[in-house]
């Protein structure tokens, strides 16, 4: 099944997911973390209630001094750990590193398996784990938008597909810096590779052939193509190069699905060059001048 067309009940599905989230209090518990705090910023351990209900976790950093500050919400990549906001970013931004359900520090009662998370409950869109994980990302955004140290009109979301989906479901986000991942046209792309995490879809299809069609159908609810038109944030999309699975050509339909221009950046496959590009773009957007960079990036 192709995910080029959104499921007929796409809006109903996500409307229900967001309604469920909205029905629950955020119930933020903010605990100072002196070990991780430094001369530039205070660090806090944050616990929030998300859909389920489920308690999720995040590391919040707040610069010393007068706010409100522009804010970076890191939704993280595919893995159990998301680092605390960097030493450099902490100097000018509020940062929030989300540990969504299943990740470390948010792994009770549900501990994600890697590999495994990507297909947890995938045979039914109502039980698919990412329905809750996307809600977790939105909950983190909601928390930040209400925080007194945060400039609510200057929240940037950074990450893979989760960042894009969050920006669509929270159109008040100011900026989106996204590197598309495994949800984009998964039914077409996954069978062309043996690389994880895509291979998790292939593993599932091989092991449970009678549920493969249901899996691809569920994934259609998460294809960023169907979210892109709702994004209002200024957007940078990092693509692979022409030899990569997610090349500019492959991602062209996703770019076209946005209702506004998207700045495309081809990854240099250099954490240094890609990191400088991201830091520079964000600093420029928020009028911070030259970005604060690690010594080896200067």
């Amino acid at each position: 099944m192709s995910s080029a067309t959104a499921p007929a009940d796409f809006a109903v599905y996500w409307g229900a997911a967001m309604s469920e989230l909205a029905s629950l209090p955020i119930a933020a518990e903010i605990t100072p973390n002196p070990l991780r705090s430094n001369d530039h910023a205070a660090v806090y351990d944050v616990r929030l209630t998300s859909s389920g209900p489920y308690r999720i976790f995040g590391f919040l950093t707040v610069p010393h001094g007068d706010g409100p500050f522009p804010t970076l919400l890191h939704t993280g990549g595919y893995g159990s750990v998301v680092h605390i906001g960097s030493y450099e970013d902490r100097q000018n931004y509020v940062t929030f590193a989300l540990r969504h359900r299943g990740r470390r520090l948010a792994d009770v009662p549900f501990a994600a398996a890697y590999p495994g998370l990507l297909t947890t409950g995938i045979a039914n869109p109502q039980t698919y784990i990412y329905r809750g994980i996307v809600a977790d990302c939105c909950r983190a955004f909601d928390f930040l938008a209400a925080h007194p140290a945060v400039a609510a009109d200057k929240i940037a979301i950074i990450g893979d597909d989760l960042a894009l989906l969050t920006a669509a479901l929270r159109p008040q986000a100011d900026a989106l810096y996204t590197t598309p991942g495994f949800f984009y046209r998964a039914a077409e792309i996954a069978p062309k590779t043996g690389a994880y995490p895509w291979e998790e879809f292939n593993d599932f299809a091989r092991a449970y052939p009678d549920q493969a069609a249901a899996m691809w159908a569920t994934l259609a609810y998460f294809d960023p193509t169907h979210f892109a038109a709702h994004v209002r944030a200024a957007t940078v999309m990092v693509t692979g190069n022409e030899q990569d699975m997610l090349s500019p050509a492959v991602l062209a339909p996703l770019v076209a699905a946005f209702s506004q221009p998207v700045t495309q950046v081809v990854s240099a496959h250099s954490s240094y060059k890609d990191g400088v590009a991201q830091a520079t773009w964000l600093a420029r957007r928020y009028g911070l001048g030259a970005p604060v960079l690690p010594a080896h990036w200067q």
Partner: protein
């Protein structure tokens, strides 16, 4: 930041007088613990060309350690083997792709990683400073042993040619690659990328990036512990292990690496004892250390030395 400064930085790491005795005792105690390895098929992750197994074995303090073991279905035994060591925050790879190239492959999850964290779970951040004031109970003591015992497991497998074992990894995986190549003479070839845990006491003055920043954070909260931390780290620093390496080895570093500063990469490479070593220092690259472009060099390096027979569909 000029290349000259990076090359000549040197190190403040001092090798403790009882370093060798400490590790001889550690390995002797570890050797007294039977592996008690179990190998369980994992049909969910297996393919028509590669069988996947989940392995568990006992290690330091009898902690049970997990790993993924992959074998080509159509194999001409004995197989060369390839160990993949994981990074600091990443979970171990499930190396089916390399198995299809004709290797018995192993992706290890040392203690604290998922599936190996029932009894030891310092978290991330956390592992780097777990009992950092005491070399005897420092978290990496058992973690290193876990990495070494993969080789014991492979040597016990009838389908593995024990003279053709390779190891590789990036960042913490690069460090474990250097450490295993130092301490496990059976290893025939090694490829370390952006090695971490090398020149640790130097690195904390060079960068504020995680994971090394964990040590800076610890010392801010415990300023009186600096001497004890320095002493402990000396027992675990790659700088003090790698003179033992005798196998062919390649190392790649990024000259703009903010995570594992290149100053430490040059120094650890200089100390490697192998006569067959080569450094690839990539300008314009950070902690990725040009892994994207360097992968083909790694593949060719191992193929030449370990002679795998690729799987035919």
């Amino acid at each position: 930041m000029s290349a000259r400064n990076l090359v000549d930085y040197g190190t403040a790491v001092v090798k403790p007088a009882d370093f060798d005795a400490f590790w001889e005792e550690t390995l002797a105690r570890a050797a007294s613990i039977p592996l008690n390895a179990t190998v369980t098929p994992v049909p969910l992750r297996s393919t028509p060309t590669v069988e996947v197994f989940e392995v568990h074995y006992d290690s330091w303090d009898h902690v049970r350690v997990a790993g993924w073991y992959c074998l080509p279905r159509q194999r001409r035994e004995p197989l060369p083997a390839m160990v993949f060591y994981p990074g600091y925050i990443s979970e171990p790879t499930l190396p089916k792709g390399y198995a299809a190239k004709g290797y018995a492959t192993f992706g290890v999850a040392p203690r604290g990683k998922l599936r190996s964290n029932a009894r030891f779970n310092p978290g991330y951040p956390g592992l780097l400073t777990y009992n950092i004031v005491d070399r005897h109970t420092y978290g990496y003591r058992g973690f290193y042993v876990d990495a070494f015992r993969v080789i014991d497991f492979l040597l016990a497998q009838p389908e593995v040619d024990g003279t053709r074992i390779g190891v590789q990894g990036g960042s913490q995986g690069g460090a474990l690659t250097l450490l295993a190549a130092s301490m496990c003479p059976a290893i025939a070839a090694a490829a370390a990328q952006a090695p971490y845990l090398a020149g640790m006491i130097d690195a904390i003055a060079l960068t504020h990036s995680y994971p090394y920043e964990e040590i800076n954070e610890y010392l801010r909260l415990h300023p009186g512990a600096r001497d004890a931390v320095t002493e402990t780290l000396a027992y675990y620093d790659c700088h003090n292990f790698v003179e033992r390496i005798r196998c062919p080895i390649i190392v790649n570093i990024g000259l703009n690496d903010d995570v594992c500063p290149p100053e430490t990469g040059y120094e650890v490479y200089r100390r490697i004892g192998s006569a067959q070593k080569q450094l690839y220092a990539y300008a314009g690259h950070g902690h990725d250390s040009n892994g994207y472009g360097h992968a083909a060099i790694v593949d060719e390096f191992f193929a030449d030395l370990l002679r795998p027979v690729p799987v035919t569909a």
